[in-house]
Symmetry: C2
DNA sequence: GGTTTGCCGATTGTCGACAATTTCCTTGAC
DNA sequence: GTCAAGGAAATTGTCGACAATCGGCAAACC
């Protein structure tokens, strides 16, 4: 209850609110697999463990619900969401729809700042593809590329929706335990999309994106199915 | 997971919690204009007025935030969202993207039950187009048509996202005060979309949908702009 | 033996109170 | 008269407590 007593230096200043901190903690715990699928997320237990009251925990859980990380059942509480192969495929289809629309707008309205940012992000992906970086970092770099596409579209709705569903993909990928055999290959896969975009070649960019996402979908869904059949 | 067997006449009884009731009340108040744009939505005041504590009001407000009806500012509270013409246009673009994808899937995977349901919904729209029905009813009938398209798509994400943003369109239309000059004409506008869908004519259906939504967008956005310039 | 019924512990739903923060109004200096 | 500093009032943030509800277990019944 006293997270502020005289730090004579300057701490990042907690202006972030207890709710956000709890939400971030929980989402990280879920994405990294500390909390397993279908597991109950008791308000009281979490609150006790974190040393806060139930109110902020409850609100944080509601936030995660919107991100699809937890499910809420009335009078039962929150549960770590268990995703099915079908839902996973639906998720990728949805991402394809949104990102395709975003790419179209991006090309038509001019790329602006997004061009350099995307180039930069692919470099970032290649950088963290090397040894010494954990998979979460690699997955996040991947996601950021797609996020940048939505962000640059000029329609905030695209980005907002992408953010809402991004964590679900991330969660599943982390759950599967590996993305591709090679993170370097993953980074390269994004290049054709960006190349086409920079050429203002809309059909090719859309096609490259479709190919990219469908390949990712097939890989993830297939590995997910395998995992479902023989858990651990 | 089968809530349909042994229904000898008992429906699950409205286990609707306090939160949902409050949320519905508030959203209705906003959509019907009882609460005006930008107005503060004080937790304490609402709680006092409804005779409940702040907790359910707060949760209800968070729900409305996801629907885009209210904005939340940390340490400031909830405010009835004020939408700009730009956001309105973005909203319609987003709807176009989602509904187009839904129509495509609907046609490709077979319409199933959705065909008759859509026919029925257009009839409903025509029915409430007559005198004696208020605009809210007419707008809701319109929305339901588009909602059915998303619902039938087979991808729950489409529907979920549509529901999240539908209220925003509804809100704005109500704010403007009239939809078209003639609700009858509005109902008819949906016919070409449905016709093409029933013929499994994907390009034509997509085109009809695009035309329909863009016309609606232009009308709504224009009237909205007029209203912005000379309020009341 | 198998089903129903009533209890019990645990968890969520709601509440009122207090602490922290913001907002607004007052006050005073220039 | 204008503006800044300060404080009062109002509002949100968080808390702990109590009521309502759920799932499971054991006793009671056929």
């Amino acid at each position: 209850m006293d997270p502020k007593q005289d730090n004579d230096g300057f701490q990042p200043l907690d202006r972030e609110g207890l709710v956000q901190r709890v939400a971030r903690l929980l989402s990280k715990a879920i994405v990294t697999g500390q909390l397993s699928q279908g597991e109950r997320l008791s308000e009281s237990v979490v609150a006790r463990q974190l040393g806060v009251s139930r109110a902020p925990v409850r609100e944080a859980a509601r936030l995660l619900e919107n991100s699809g990380l937890v499910t809420y059942l009335p009078n039962r509480g929150f549960f770590v969401r268990s995703i099915t192969a079908r839902e996973l495929a639906d998720l990728y289809e949805f991402r394809l729809v949104i990102e395709t629309a975003a790419v179209r707008r991006l090309i038509r309205d001019g790329m602006g700042e997004s061009g350099p940012r995307l180039v930069q992000q692919i470099e970032e992906m290649r950088r963290v593809a090397g040894p010494g970086f954990d998979m979460l970092t690699q997955v996040e770099a991947d996601m950021e590329f797609h996020r940048l596409i939505c962000a640059g579209s000029g329609n905030p709705k695209f980005l907002a929706t992408f953010d809402q569903i991004a964590m679900e993909s991330e969660l599943t990928i982390m759950m599967i335990g590996r993305l591709y055999d090679d993170a370097q290959k993953l980074a390269d896969t994004h290049q054709p999309i960006l190349d086409a975009m920079l050429r203002h070649d809309e059909p090719e960019a859309v096609e490259a994106l479709r190919y990219h996402i469908e390949v990712a979908r097939d890989l993830v869904v297939e590995q997910f199915r395998n995992m479902e059949e023989k858990p651990d």
